[in-house]
């Protein structure tokens, strides 16, 4: 089945990335909890958790999602199997759909699963971090940050070579993050703020309070769809 | 029946097959009633296109040297002597044509050539 082939070709990369993100998440939670120099109290994991999702997880996941977008026919051409794959009675659009959907689901899982381990870690140490917070923040990360994934998708359809596409993808993620942090005019587009806007988090409890603005995330998600469509257009027109 | 082919010679392979099968029949290596391999089998054995074998068998069938039976291969037929003779005449005329051309290019007139032939035949007959 074509979809199984696509999954198989990406599964180890996905598991590796997921494992790495779990380590990063765990380390960050402990680092943040200890930084306050307080022994486990239920409140500490709230701050540690929120900071982790907003900080370490956001940063590392952004690059990871981009990596999960790499691959595709250019990769197959480098390995030599593109002729075989394209000679099968499966359209390029169908292959692209399978690859992009599986990759998107993997990105989502790579955001949600580490986020959801935070309540688990907290509970293991007698603390607490609400599952609903973890879930919602993880979900927002996955949806809002789909832009990183789509960047990887687009970069890998245009640039051949594992190192070239990874390098350019990394540069793109950097550009997205830093330009929106540094350049005044672009500060409104900062993804970190779109995903966990300050007004959404209670500054004393470090928990979600009140309304959850979706417009920022919706905008970045829409942008990711545009990039994905672009990647599709390139794929169906390209000579392999 | 051993068939050895030379695909690079410039002579169509089917003609080579026809020639060799005909030769086998003429010298008695194949006799009336002998079965020839099915088209597909011979093609695989010789590693040539099945169309080539079809052409060869068709030619042989036209010369009444073999008869094709649907799905049951091909068989060597009787009644081949008469056609063989016609074949031989055709081949002989090619030899004559070439010899005439050669003699003319050597500068001999047709009369001189004819005299050479007559001399040869008389000598042959006298020797017997």
């Amino acid at each position: 089945m074509p979809i199984r082939k696509v999954w198989r070709e990406s599964q180890w990369r996905f598991f590796f990335i997921l494992a790495a993100l779990l380590v990063v998440t765990g380390a960050s939670v402990f680092y943040n909890a200890k930084a306050e120099n307080v022994v486990v109290e239920s409140k500490d994991f709230h701050e540690a958790g929120e900071r982790t999702i907003r900080g370490a997880l956001f940063l590392f996941w952004g690059f990871s999602a981009m990596f999960l977008g790499l691959g595709g026919f250019l990769r197959e051409r480098a390995v030599g199997t593109v002729d075989y794959t394209l000679s099968l009675p499966v359209s390029r659009t169908r292959w692209f759909l399978y690859r992009s959907l599986i990759g998107a689901l993997q990105s989502m899982a790579a955001a949600l699963i580490p986020a959801l381990t935070i309540p688990v870690i907290a509970a293991l140490f007698g603390g607490n971090y609400p599952v609903s917070d973890a879930f919602l923040l993880g979900l927002r990360l996955g949806v809002g940050g789909m832009l990183y994934y789509s960047s990887g998708l687009l970069v890998s359809t245009v640039f051949a070579g594992d190192y070239a596409s990874a390098g350019i993808g990394i540069a793109v993620v950097f550009a997205i993050n830093n330009s929106t942090r540094v350049i005044e005019a672009l500060k409104r587009l900062n993804l970190q703020d779109a995903i966990t806007p300050p007004q959404m988090i209670d500054q004393s409890t470090h928990l979600i309070r009140g309304q959850m603005p979706w417009s920022g995330i919706a905008f970045s998600f829409a942008l990711s769809l545009v990039l994905s469509a672009w990647a599709w257009k390139v794929t169906i027109a390209k000579d392999f | 029946m051993v068939i050895r082919l030379n695909p690079s010679s410039g002579i169509p392979i089917y003609l080579q097959i026809v020639e060799q099968i005909r030769h086998s029949i003429e010298i008695g290596a194949l006799v009336e009633g002998d079965q020839l391999p099915a088209i597909r089998t011979l093609a695989e054995e010789l590693v040539v296109s099945p169309n080539t074998v079809v052409k060869a068998y068709d030619d042989l069938e036209q010369e009444r040297l073999i008869r094709l039976r649907h799905g049951a291969g091909a068989y060597v037929e009787k009644g081949n002597l008469a056609k063989s003779r016609l074949r031989r005449f055709r081949e002989a005329s090619v030899v004559v044509k070439e010899t005439v051309r050669k003699l003319r290019s050597m500068g001999l007139s047709d009369d001189e050539s004819r005299r050479l032939f007559e001399a040869e035949w008389i000598e042959e007959a006298a020797a017997r």
Binding site: E9, V79, A237 | I11, I13, Y14, P50, K102
Partner: protein, 295 residues
Amino acid sequence: MKDVVETRELTKRFGDHYALAGLTMTVPRGQIVGFLGRNGSGKTTTIKILLDVIRRTSGEATVLGEPTGSVAVRRRIGFLGEDKRLYSYMTVREIIAFTRPFFTSWRVETETRLLMDFELPLNRKVSALSKGMRTKLGLLLNLCRHSELLILDEPSEGLDPVMAEQMLQSLVRQAADGTTIFFSSHQVAEIEQIADHIIAIEKGRVMLEGSLDHLRQKFRRINLVFDDPPPPEAFRRDGVDRVIVQGRTISILASRNVDEIAALGPLLAAKSVDVQSVGLKELFLEKVKGDHADS
């Protein structure tokens, strides 16, 4: 449909280089067709266009009556590329199981027979197969489809003589079942052995085309020996393709009027006249040289 592949003025440009410069050819159904050409003449480019791996610049190309790019047509054809690379992480069993469902004409008896004939170990990963075994696997994945058309790009590339012969034999067997075979090669010998029809390509255009037997019966080499050879112009006549002077010998490649041309010998006082058949290699090389001489 009479022709399984048809191209008309097919061109492909890479930058300012034209890999194909107006290729017009047809592949007749039910035949074994050899696609002959030098390296870089456009053979692989043509095949990639037929499979829609690369897109043409202009002109037309159809496979089984449909324009290239039709997904439905790919269910009815087979393809073995030059690279012969397959998914390295799959085992032989897995890649067969992966490929089988795509093709409704797949025959399991063929699969069983070929697995045995080719001695392919079901549980071995493709990455652990030798080149010869990979080729056999690629061949199996195609032959089991029993497709209407089988396209191969340099099928015996990298194979030892025994395997190459086995490969040709498998193709012949497939042809006997009705599959049209279209294979490219720069090895004249194997084309001469199994092809019914040939298409010779040079610099992105068809240089020579026709039934191989027809070409064999049509072309002749006429060697005339003179004490004092006349100039080549003396032999320019309808049917003369090339005239080469080699010392006292005038060698003529003729495609028509062989008798008339041979008669020039005695007419011009040749010491000897010799008419020979021409093999495909010789014909191809002469045509290529002639092509270059003209341009």
